[in-house]
C-alpha cells in the first residue's frame, strides 16, 4: 500500500507545476461605440504627462528624452506636485469616505508606444510607473497610518487607493485604422 502511494506521490511531484500567475494587472478602456463622436474630453494640458517609447526603445516623458532610472522620480514629482507648480497637475479636494477631505491629484499618465517597441521595454516602463504610484501610496500610508500600504487592512487600502488613484492610460494606437 505504502509503495503504491509512494509511486503515485512521486508522479504528482513530477508533474505538478507550482508556478504562480504573476504580472501587472491593468484595465483597458472600453471601446467607444461606432456612432459615438470622438468627444475630446479636454483634459487640461497641465494634468497630463505623455510617456512615449519610440521604435528604438528610447523614452520620452513630456517631449524630453529621459532615462528609465529617472522616470520614477519624474512621475512621482508629477503626481504629488509638492510645490504647487502651475505647470504640474492641479488637485481637487475630495471628500474621501472614512478619511475626510484630501487633495486628489488630477494627473493622468498617458503611455504611448510604437509598433516596433519591444515588449520588455514596455513592461519595464509600466513597472516604473506602477512603482512610482506604489511609492506615493506607501508614503501616504506611512504618514497617516504608520504602516506600509500592503500591510494595511482592506478598508484602509481602499481609502489610500482613492486618495492616490492609479491613472495610467494606455493610449489609443496612432495607426490603428490603416492596417
Amino acid at each position: 500500500m505504502a509503495d503504491i502511494s509512494f509511486i503515485v506521490l512521486v508522479f504528482f511531484l513530477m508533474v505538478s507545476t507550482m508556478d504562480q500567475e504573476k504580472g501587472l494587472s491593468r484595465r483597458l478602456p472600453p471601446m467607444p461605440a461606432e456612432d459615438q463622436k470622438v468627444e475630446d474630453q479636454k483634459v487640461n494640458r497641465r494634468n497630463i504627462i505623455i510617456v512615449r517609447i519610440n521604435i528604438n526603445d528610447r523614452i520620452f516623458a513630456g517631449n524630453e528624452p529621459i532615462d528609465v532610472s529617472q522616470l520614477k522620480d519624474k512621475i512621482k514629482e508629477f503626481l504629488t506636485n509638492p510645490m504647487e507648480d502651475p505647470n504640474l497637475p492641479e488637485k481637487e479636494v475630495k471628500e474621501i469616505e472614512g478619511f475626510g477631505p484630501y487633495p486628489v491629484s488630477k494627473g493622468v499618465i498617458s503611455l504611448q508606444n510604437d509598433r516596433g517597441t519591444t515588449y520588455s521595454k514596455y513592461i519595464e516602463v509600466q513597472n516604473e510607473l506602477v512603482k512610482a504610484i506604489n511609492e506615493i501610496r506607501d508614503d501616504f500610508s506611512m504618514a497617516n497610518y504608520g504602516k506600509k500600504y500592503d500591510k494595511l487592512d482592506e478598508d484602509k487600502q481602499a481609502i489610500v487607493r482613492e486618495c492616490i488613484p492609479q491613472q495610467i492610460s494606455e493610449a489609443e494606437p496612432k495607426d490603428i485604422n490603416k492596417k
Binding site: 502511494s5 504580472g23 501587472l24 494587472s25 472600453p30 471601446m31 515588449y119 506602477v130 506604489n134 490603428i176
Partner: protein, 151 residues
C-alpha cells in the same frame, strides 16, 4: 525502598513504520489537490519580461491565456520565426481572439463573467505591434481586465 530499574536493553527502539502509509497518503492528497496540470503544450517560446511590482492573480480559474512569441524550433519551417499567437493549443490569428474570448466566457458561470481576466504572456522580445492588435481586439470584445505576465 522503591528503586528505578532500567528494564531491557539500552538500544534505541526502531521507529515504528506502521503509520508511514498514512503520512504518505496525506502528502499525496496535498499534491493531488494543489497541482494544476498543464493544460496545453506550449507552441511558442515565451520568456516573460522581468518586473518588480508584480501582483498575484487572485483567481486562477477565471483567467484565460494568450501566448505570444516565436514558434518553437520544430514548428519553424511551417510557421516561420515571426511572433505568433497561441490560443489553447494551436496557432491563431488576431481575428480569432474574438471567438476564443467568447468561448472562454461561455465556460464561466454567470456570476464570474465580469471578473474574467485575460493573461497575456508574451515573450520579452516581441514587438509591441502585435500586442497592440491584441489589446484592441480585446477591447472590441470587451474583455477589459488584462494582465501582463511577468516574473
Amino acid at each position: 525502598m522503591a528503586t528505578f530499574r532500567k528494564s531491557g536493553s539500552k538500544e534505541v527502539p526502531a521507529i515504528k513504520t506502521s503509520s508511514l502509509p498514512d503520512i504518505v497518503f496525506m502528502i499525496l492528497m496535498f499534491f493531488m489537490v494543489s497541482t494544476s496540470m498543464r493544460q496545453s503544450d506550449r507552441l511558442v517560446k515565451v520568456t516573460l519580461p522581468q518586473a518588480s511590482e508584480i501582483v498575484k492573480l487572485e483567481r486562477k480559474d477565471l483567467s484565460s491565456y494568450i501566448y505570444v512569441g516565436t514558434p518553437m524550433e520544430q514548428y519553424r519551417d511551417k510557421y516561420g520565426t515571426d511572433s505568433r499567437i497561441q490560443l489553447n493549443d494551436s496557432f491563431r490569428t488576431v481575428d480569432e481572439i474574438r471567438d476564443f474570448v467568447a468561448a472562454e466566457r461561455e465556460n464561466l458561470s454567470e456570476a464570474d463573467r465580469p471578473f474574467m481576466t485575460v493573461s497575456i504572456k508574451a515573450d520579452q522580445d516581441t514587438r509591441m505591434g502585435i500586442i497592440t492588435d491584441i489589446k484592441q481586439e480585446l477591447r472590441r470584445c470587451s474583455a477589459l481586465k488584462i494582465m501582463y505576465g511577468a516574473r
